[in-house]
Symmetry: C2
Subunit: 179 residues, 2 copies
DNA sequence: AATACAATATTACGACCATCATATTAATTT
DNA sequence: AAATTAATATGATGGTCGTAATATTGTATT
């Protein structure tokens, strides 16, 4: 595989990641993803075996990048401090409204039950790794799990409500409920 | 409108509610809803103006029924007691796995941003009414809001993970995090 | 310059979808 | 029994989708 081809592959993957994070793995059409990557639909199957394969790889990549970013916070912080810090970003209006760097979970969770098994496995692995990073000791695992649910639910709710007073209140309320 | 026709209308509405609660308003096809109601697709547009109109009405109805059910719990309970009781049901394995009486929010939230405005308004109204029912005093509004986010996120996550150990842990962790 | 590879535009297939129409049968009402 | 209304089966329309093939143009490498 040439340099050029693998670069194009990455472009498609990044484009898929952007639309996936906004609308989930199912809704965006292949042609739309290719257009987002500045390409046409013609050569898609030279790069990926199917739409599902593309979306699964994009999903995996998005989650891995997000974990790597979280891993870079100061290691001297306690578990709780890490969770509060994460929630401050995760439940910000920025993260609700912005197009870039979105967490794909709020838009994807509902679909995952109807998608190939790899999606579920990827999700499960992500949840385990995230809770590990969000807790100082193993006993904190359950509060980390609950905080994850709170953050995902809060963001999903705030996004569904759209920008506005009630949506802002959801974000604030969820932030101050972090354990 | 005859008795028979309005009965049929209700059947369609109930069928739509069932599939909506499981898969959201967008995914199920009109023909599938009609089949679920024991009918064929032919006469659908004699009852509803469009698929969106049907799904919006089904959505509204589902949420209203859920609020009415919550309103029947003992009025002498404190806000916190009501929230714990609600969470015990909402975050049960029953509610995760069963087909009947599902909360439609985990499956619908992500789509609402891309649906007609009525969905968003219906959601906003539901959230306000729910938090009011879930709090004893107005100052409790924000913890009720956070608990809602926690419950919806926890259930969405548990459903995406499918039955299993991790999924069960999510439910338990979220339940014990209710404020 | 020649060769190999990648992206292009275009077109097609078969499947599904929402929506609508039609002609027929069944049920209800008068 | 007659008249009205509802549900039926069936199929058409026009759209979108995933997937695939083709022939052409452009780019890289040798």
């Amino acid at each position: 595989m040439s340099e050029r081809k693998s670069e194009t592959r990455k472009r498609i993957l990044a484009a898929a990641g952007r639309v996936l994070a906004e609308r989930g793995p199912g809704d965006p059409a292949v042609a739309e993803v290719m257009a987002e990557a500045g390409l046409t639909v013609g050569g898609f199957y030279a790069h990926f075996a199917s739409k599902d394969a593309l979306m699964l790889e994009a999903f995996r990549l998005l989650l891995r990048v997000r974990r790597e970013r979280l891993a870079q916070v100061d290691q001297s912080l306690t578990g709780r401090e890490r969770r509060v810090l994460l929630a401050a970003f995760y439940l910000s209006r920025r993260h609700r409204d912005d197009n870039d760097e979105r967490c794909p979970l709020p838009s994807s969770l509902a679909e995952i039950a109807r998608l190939p098994d790899g999606f579920r496995q990827t999700l499960a692995e992500h949840i385990e790794l995230m809770t590990a990073q969000m807790s100082g000791a193993p006993e904190e695992g359950d509060v980390a799990l609950a905080d994850l649910a709170l953050m995902i639910g809060g963001l999903a709710l705030a996004r569904a409500l759209g920008p506005g007073e009630l949506s802002d209140r959801v974000l604030r309320a969820a932030k101050s409920a972090v354990v």
